[in-house]
């Protein structure tokens, strides 16, 4: 079989696209955006029901909509997009042909079928079991089947990515080590393989149980193994969106990693330690010892948290160095003030970084502390946390990357550029407010996944304090703002991709690359010292100040939570 070796060079970015890889990326991106659209429409129902003043949906519909919202957003939107990122980091960045495009297409269609089957089961109405689907609460067999098909598709795509790395090395398409962004994508891929294996271990028996071939699924075993899938899949997101941050810093500023060693070392810590995170969800469960909980929930002494804190410094640090070298070297924050705040690629990435760190990262450590979990577990604080990590963090980073990909990958001009300028702010700030208010309500005990906190008609109602009601109302309003921001994104991307002005380059064509041609990338200039930029012996003093502000917020909030815990009833 002849191997397709047709490539094109993007005139704007200089990136080299392999024809089949390019088409696969486009299809994955479109499937992702469709999932986001469905999840976004469902979000309206969730927001308007939990805002008690409106309380839109009846309970059965609310739980159904919430289940579908979680799956479409957390699984389908994000993983479709991540597969596009893998192909981009594998094929495009390494200037290599994609390995086995036909298998990649089969994997893609398997994922599409899986997503459809799973959505079908939820829309039937007998599978409103939430994203977590905790056995022994059972769903229709197609619920598990859809997820299994989707996961198998994603797993095959991961191996296509790994195969592409092998092809690139064998055909010598690059010199030395793979780029940092590809290394980050490889991290995401390795975590994904572990994640999907854990998913298979639990979902396949659960599927057999749902069709009656197995008669018992232990609830604790299910929850433990399921979270090795459920939480680890969020770690794929972290590795993927951190890679996107590095990519955007390079695209917008030409930023070079401050040190390859540190950034790659931090990714390596993710591979070693992020997997332990399933323990976060089992801190108030019986049958597991405190030693197990403490070791695992801290990812072995917080070494993965350390990795995120390192990325949180090195990404803005790399931007600061690049800006200072361009001449924005005065004072502490001139480099940041003079950043292109009107460019949605940058603003989305930067809001993602700040939101993920300050809101998502700090709250995540609170919930993942064995004892503190008791005052947080299953309250609406939890959705507050993950809307900061997965939505402000991952989704917004992907949105920013989309604005870069529309002209480069789809070869269309971005429609409504004025709106695109504002979109990251509306979405990012709206969603950050959602996170904050949900965390506030959760601190007051408001439960997650709950239809009616007024307990109307209940013989033993509980009256939540007025502040909790206020927080939920504010979360509702912020949620609507975020939905508007999401709608802007969908309008811009769908409009641009299907109706946007085509970018026509004279003489454009796919060119056949010779076999074994080492399309050697121009090596970046070697910078051993950063010259005379920076202050106080640091090349990035502004970033260091920001990091210290972050640390102060972290420490303060951490001990406030311990103080709060110390006031509740003694337990042992």
């Amino acid at each position: 079989m002849a191997v397709n070796r047709m490539f094109r060079t993007c005139p704007a970015s200089g990136l080299l696209f392999h024809e089949p890889a390019e088409k696969l990326m486009r299809f994955h991106a479109v499937a992702a955006v469709v999932s986001l659209l469905i999840g976004g429409i469902l979000a309206i129902g969730v927001v308007l029901t939990r805002w008690q003043a409106i309380h839109l949906l009846p309970p059965d519909l609310f739980y159904q909509v919430l289940t579908a919202h979680g799956l479409n957003m957390l699984v389908f939107w994000i993983i479709f997009f991540e597969m596009a990122v893998l192909y981009f980091a594998g094929s495009t960045l390494l200037r290599s042909r994609l390995a086995t495009p036909r298998i990649a297409w089969a994997a893609f269609w398997l994922m599409v079928i899986g997503a459809l089957v799973n959505n079908y089961s939820v829309f039937r109405g007998d599978s409103s079991v939430m994203f977590t689907s905790y056995a022994p609460m059972g769903a229709h067999p197609t619920f598990y089947l859809g997820l299994i098909l989707f996961a198998v598709g994603a797993l095959v795509s991961c191996f296509v990515f790994l195969g592409t790395l092998v092809v690139a090395r064998a055909e010598r398409t690059y010199r030395g080590s793979i780029p940092l962004v590809t290394f980050g994508a490889l991290t995401a891929c390795i975590i994904a393989i572990f994640t999907i294996a854990a998913g298979a271990i639990i979902l396949i028996p659960t599927f057999f149980w749902s069709v009656g071939l197995i008669d018992h699924i232990d609830s604790l075993m299910y929850k433990t193994v399921w979270w090795a899938f459920g939480h680890s899949s969020q770690q794929i997101n972290v590795a993927a969106h951190v890679s996107v941050w590095y990519a955007v810093a390079a695209i917008v500023f030409g930023a070079k990693p401050m040190s390859e060693k540190v950034s790659r070392g931090a990714f390596l810590l993710y591979i070693f330690f992020l997997q332990l995170a399933s323990a976060h969800h089992l801190l108030v469960d019986p049958g597991l010892t405190s030693n197990w909980k403490i070791f695992n929930t801290s990812y072995a002494m917080y070494l993965a948290v350390l990795a995120s804190m390192v990325h949180g410094l090195t990404v803005p640090g790399a931007i600061e160095v690049a800006q200072r070298e361009k001449g924005h070297n005065q004072g502490l924050f001139t480099w940041l003030r003079r950043a292109p705040w009107g460019n949605p690629v940058f603003s989305a990435m930067f809001i993602s970084l700040i939101g993920f760190g300050f809101l998502g990262g700090i709250s995540g450590v609170m919930m993942g502390t064995e004892q503190l979990n008791m005052i947080i577990h299953n309250t609406i604080y939890v959705p507050g946390h993950f809307h900061a990590t997965v939505v402000v963090g991952t989704t917004l980073a992907f949105m920013g990357l989309t604005y870069f990909l529309i002209p480069v990958l789809f070869r269309r001009e971005v429609m409504f550029p004025g709106m695109a300028k504002w979109q990251p702010y509306v979405f990012g700030l709206g969603m950050s407010a959602v996170s904050l208010f949900l965390m506030g309500a959760g601190t007051l005990g408001v439960p997650r996944r709950h239809w009616d906190i007024s307990f109307a008609g209940n013989p033993f109602p509980y009256e939540f304090p007025g502040a909790a009601w206020l927080m939920m109302a504010l979360a509702g309003i912020s949620g609507l703002i975020a939905i508007v921001g999401g709608g802007m994104y969908l309008l811009i991307t769908v409009g641009s991709v299907f109706l946007g002005k085509k970018i026509v380059t004279p003489g454009f064509q796919h060119v056949r690359a010779r076999e074994n041609v080492a399309a050697i990338p121009a090596a970046a200039p070697v910078i051993t010292s950063h010259g005379s930029i920076g202050a106080g012996g640091m090349v990035a003093p502004g970033t260091f100040v920001l990091a210290m502000v972050f640390l102060a917020a972290f420490v303060l909030y951490y001990f406030i939570n311990w103080k709060y815990l110390s006031t509740v009833w003694p337990l042992k």
Partner: protein, 181 residues
Amino acid sequence: MSALLPPAEQVWWKQPLDRVELIWIVIALIWCLIMFFMMPYWHIYGKQNLSNEAYRARPEEYAKKAEDMIAKYKVREEGGDLKVPVVHPPAGSDVYLIARLWSWSPMLELEAGKSYRIHLMSMDWLHGFSLQPENINIQVHPGYEHVVTVTPGSPGTYSIICNEYCGINHHTMTSRLYVVK
């Protein structure tokens, strides 16, 4: 665009760190260790820790223990037609709380400042024990009997709500807990 390109230096791992990175890594590592040791510290010096005491149990056996306790210590019924029993067990005793779709049984009346061994187990699906407004939240599994020693604080009427999604009437699964002098 060098994060998108292979590292310029072939031996990139020999490039020295900048001071800003080194200082931050050291600070962050120390903070991570402090957070780690906070958890064992609290097990020794803190008053709010979950126990490691849990047993596998059958629903019918557990329900029987709860029924026996109700028969012994029942003081009244509440909830009109629902006739939910309220028990006032002696301080220090074993108290059995049943979680099932979609109710808690029995209702507890405890004395402030006294300790009780509260047993938690579900008869069917996963449930969440959420004591409000204290905001103590514990997962309740079917088949696992979890024993937690609790010392109630100030007297008053508290609520137990279910905060693990357990189906269509999840939001109706509530109860009370009385703390008396």
